[in-house]
């Protein structure tokens, strides 16, 4: 896969994840367009929600992801309490035979911002129960550190509210989280377009989760490809080490040996 550099593996809880772009599956209009976006993204890991079965549904999301060789990352989307999130995670483990969970505990249905108190409580219970917990959290460096101390395998701070497309509202906080973390930081929520994903990687995130920005784009497969390229570019730029920002110019061409028409050719 072009998006994966074999010399720069992305690992969570000791497992090689593959692509640094994780895709959310919500918001797509048809299974066919979801499949083409997943393919174009080069992703190795995609999130799914856990919901009551609908006997009328003809297609299986699990079969679709399996067919593409994409690993399932169940989420606890829609849960407002630690108890609900823990039960949902346990159902997901049974349904998909994975102990990985993207833990979401929402505190407010208008902003969909995470509830840090319920989140920490749920994370503690799930870590104790052997889950590999990837919590969706605010961009608060203190909460991120607490989640790491509990034993979470990664932290997933938001850039902006879910589905808002507002990008990374507080890049400095994301940098602080990255700087303090000993576990992968995956930017989750708020990505609107490719430059946002690229910035997340330049700030030092280990990966990016994108859902609405791809699934609700006018051409989801093309946006998925753009996100793939953006994540790869941002990661490369981070590893390459950017130049220091300067207040005034610094010439990149040497002044030495400059011609001096009508003069002596310098002193």
């Amino acid at each position: 896969m072009a998006s994966v550099d074999p010399t720069d593996q992305f690992t969570i809880a000791g497992a090689d994840v593959g692509s640094r772009l994780i895709l959310g599956t919500g918001g797509m209009t048809s299974p066919e367009s979801l499949a083409s976006a997943l393919r174009a993204s080069g992703t190795s890991l995609a999130t799914v929600a856990v919901r009551r079965v609908d006997p009328a549904t003809r297609h299986s999301l699990v079969d679709l992801l399996d067919g593409l060789g994409i690993r399932i990352l169940p989420n606890t989307a829609g849960c407002f309490t630690a108890a609900d999130a823990v039960l949902t995670a346990k159902l997901a483990r049974e349904a998909f035979a994975t102990d990985w969970v993207k833990l979401e505990v929402i505190g407010d249905d208008r902003t969909l911002l995470p509830d840090p108190i319920e989140l920490v409580a749920a994370a503690e219970q799930l870590v104790d129960d052997g889950f590999v917990v990837l919590p969706y959290c605010g961009d608060d460096p203190v909460v991120a550190t607490r989640l790491e101390q509990i034993g979470c395998a990664a932290v997933m701070p938001l850039g902006a509210p879910i589905g808002s497309g507002l990008g990374i509202r507080n890049p400095h906080n994301i940098e602080l989280i990255v700087e303090q973390a000993g576990i992968p930081v995956i930017l989750d929520a708020g990505i609107g377009t490719a430059s946002d994903a690229c910035l997340a990687m330049e700030l030092g995130c280990s990966g990016v989760l994108v859902a609405s920005a791809v699934t609700r784009a006018q051409d989801p497969a093309l946006m998925a490809r753009a996100m793939c390229d953006a994540v790869a570019a941002g990661r490369a730029a981070r590893r390459a080490g950017r130049i220091t920002r300067r207040f005034v110019a610094e010439a990149s061409s040497s002044f030495e040996g400059m011609v001096a028409p009508g003069g002596t050719g310098g002193e």
Binding site: A49, V50, R51, V53, P55, A77, L87, L91, A95, L209
Partner: protein, 69 residues
């Protein structure tokens, strides 16, 4: 709810004699793949579906994957 009824995914449902979690899943799902079940708030491991009876009044949740971020 009448004596022979259970609740499945929030709706009242008749309880067949001898019903187990496995027989409920067979009724409700096209395939048991990617499905999980909780009875009265406790997850029932797949390996025990065949031998887990469902009793009148039980509250059953049958879930699977749905598109989501």
């Amino acid at each position: 709810m009448s004596p022979g009824e259970i609740t499945v995914n929030g709706e009242p449902a008749p309880l067949a004699p001898g019903a187990t979690v496995a027989s409920l899943v067979a009724t409700w799902c096209r395939s048991p793949r990617g499905v999980a079940v909780a009875v009265n708030g406790d997850v029932v491991p797949r390996s025990t579906w065949e031998r887990t009876p469902v009793a009148p009044g039980d509250v059953v949740e049958i879930v699977s994957a749905a598109a989501g971020g």
